[in-house]
């Protein structure tokens, strides 16, 4: 049957066509196509790898950012607490120092008052003694107005010295 016996003409042209087709594609089509397909596959692989690593990095970054935020919060809280502490301490200190200062001022005032008292006393005493002397002088002047009383006193004093 004709169907099962290969026709020479067709075999011949088939060889020619296939050879021509193969040569054309081999020379002009396959190198460009396969190169691009392969390099694009590589590109996609790389892209996927890159995306994965980027995602990983992003996750890491997110994690570390969270850590940083937490740390910041912690520090903030600590700082607030510290500030609070410092504030109270400062108030306390200020109060204490004000108290001390007030004490000092009071002490000084006391001391001054005492000194002034002493001075006043001293002055008072000097004045009193001055007055007393003046009075005594006046009294003595009145009593020893005459020569005899004077001589008697000198003698009495001399006697005292002698007996010593």
């Amino acid at each position: 049957m004709e169907l099962f016996t290969p026709d020479f003409g067709l075999v011949f042209w088939m060889f020619v066509s296939f050879a021509v087709l193969f040569l054309i594609l081999w020379k002009f089509a396959w190198p460009a196509i396969l190169k691009t397909v392969n390099s694009r596959a590589d590109l996609i692989d790389k892209g996927v790898e890159y995306a994965q690593s980027a995602k990983e990095q992003l996750d890491n970054a997110r994690l570390s950012a969270q850590e940083v935020i937490n740390e910041a919060r912690r520090q903030q809280a600590e700082m607030m607490r510290e500030a609070d502490r410092i504030k109270t301490q400062m108030i306390e200190d200020a109060r204490q120092s004000a108290q001390a200062e007030a004490q000092k001022v009071m002490d000084n005032a006391k001391l001054q008052i005492q000194q002034q008292q002493k001075e006043a006393q001293l002055q008072f005493r000097n004045q009193v003694s001055d007055f007393a002397l003046q009075i005594a002088t006046k009294v003595v002047k009145n009593q020893l107005g005459d020569q005899k009383a004077q001589a008697k006193l000198v003698n009495a004093i001399l006697d005292d010295i002698d007996t010593k």
Binding site: E2, L3, F4, T5, P6, D7, F8, G9, L10, V11, F12, W13, M14, F15, S17, F18, V20, L21, F22, I24, L25, W26, F28, A29, W30, A32, I33, L34, K35, T36, V37, S39, R40, A41, L43
Partner: protein, 367 residues
């Protein structure tokens, strides 16, 4: 929508044809004598002209090229149509009739006897072959051009995207996964084979010019393709491959006094391309045959009775459309299988050890 319209149109035409035939008593005898076998084999076979739709007598003329003892003769197939004789360079040519042993072929008449010259005419199949080559070259150069223009960064879309998807499916799924590091060496051949077969298969399904030639259902075409695979397999075969054929790792009594294994292995070298030839040829021819027979059923039944004819339209048309759709799938599958088997045969000849493993896979594949 257009598909539905075309189905309706076909149905209507067929009905009119049937009724017209049934109403003409003069053609009654002719209608009864529809030569189904002749029509089927006419459609499956080769021809010197390319038939046009709706006309059995006009054909697109194609050049006939023959070589007789006195050199080449070249003339149009229109000269020898309908049994006419044509004298070219002193030699009379005609297409041999029904009773000749060269039925349907161009013969030279020498001393009243028919002599078959060396025939390398551009027949319908040869022209279809050229059209397929043009189609595949065009598609691939288009794709390559796209890549050259756009580089790696851009992926083709739509039509070219489909071509690329099929290409990468074959390249990654069949060639690379089977051949591994040898893939770049054999990929050009295997991809050419795949797209050539696929193109021929699909063109064969288009019923009018430039399609309709039953190319891959022709044993000459499949034989050449299988022969190419055979040559590639054996020319690039490794030392290990040849050692496995002539001195395989089997008990010595299987190969020494009587070369049993050697005979089997050498036989195997030739059965592989034979299997390739026959499976593609038979599958594609079968598909074409079923569609033609389903369509012819209408006319066979119409010859019996107009009622049967109309009824058979309702059955035949949906069925042949269904078969054509299946054939679209088969076109891809057969091209795929041919490429896959070629890849496996080539990869078997590239082995550097571990033969058994691959043998098992091939046994599975061919099942």
């Amino acid at each position: 929508m257009t598909r539905i319209i075309s189905i309706l149109l076909t149905t209507l035409l067929s009905t009119l044809l049937t009724v017209a035939r049934a109403n003409e008593p003069a053609t009654e005898g002719e209608s009864e004598g529809i030569d189904t076998k002749a029509i089927v084999f006419d459609h499956l076979g080769d021809a010197y002209g390319w038939e046009v739709p709706f006309n059995h007598h006009k054909r697109i003329p194609l050049p006939i090229i023959v070589k007789t003892d006195d050199g080449f003769h070249c003339f149009s197939s229109a000269r020898v149509e309908h049994g006419a004789e044509w004298v070219d360079g002193g030699v009379t040519f005609k297409i041999a009739g029904e009773n000749s042993e060269y039925k349907g072929k161009v013969v030279a008449i020498v001393d009243g006897k028919e002599v078959k010259p060396l025939d390398i005419s551009i027949t319908k199949n040869v022209l279809a072959l050229f059209i397929s080559v043009g189609l595949v070259v065009g598609l691939m150069l288009w794709l390559a051009g796209f890549y050259r223009r756009h580089g790696v960064g851009k992926t083709p879309r739509k039509g070219l995207g489909a071509v690329e998807a099929v290409l990468t499916f074959i390249y990654d799924g069949v060639i690379k996964s089977t051949l591994g590091k040898d893939a770049p060496r054999f990929a050009p051949y295997l991809l050419t084979v795949f797209f050539f077969i696929f193109g021929m298969n699909l063109l064969g399904l288009i019923v009018i010019f430039p399609g309709g030639a039953n190319l891959t259902g022709n044993i000459a075409v499949t034989m050449v393709l299988a022969l190419c695979t055979f040559l590639v397999t054996n020319i690039f075969g490794t030392k290990h491959y040849w050692k496995d054929i002539f001195w395989p790792d089997v008990p010595i009594w299987l190969k020494c006094p009587l070369p049993i294994m050697q005979v089997i292995e050498v036989f195997g070298i030739f059965t592989k391309p034979a299997a390739l030839t026959v499976r593609l040829f038979a599958n594609m021819m079968g598909g074409h045959m079923i569609v033609i027979v389903l369509t012819l059923l209408i006319f066979i039944f119409a010859a019996m009775s107009p009622v049967f004819g109309v009824a058979s339209i309702a059955v035949s048309i949906p069925f042949s459309i269904f078969m054509l759709l299946i054939d679209c799938l088969v076109s891809f599958i057969q091209a795929y299988v041919f490429t896959m088997l070629s890849t496996i045969f080539i990869s078997l000849a590239q082995e550097h050890g571990h033969h058994e493993e691959v043998n098992e896979t091939i046994a599975l594949e061919t099942k």
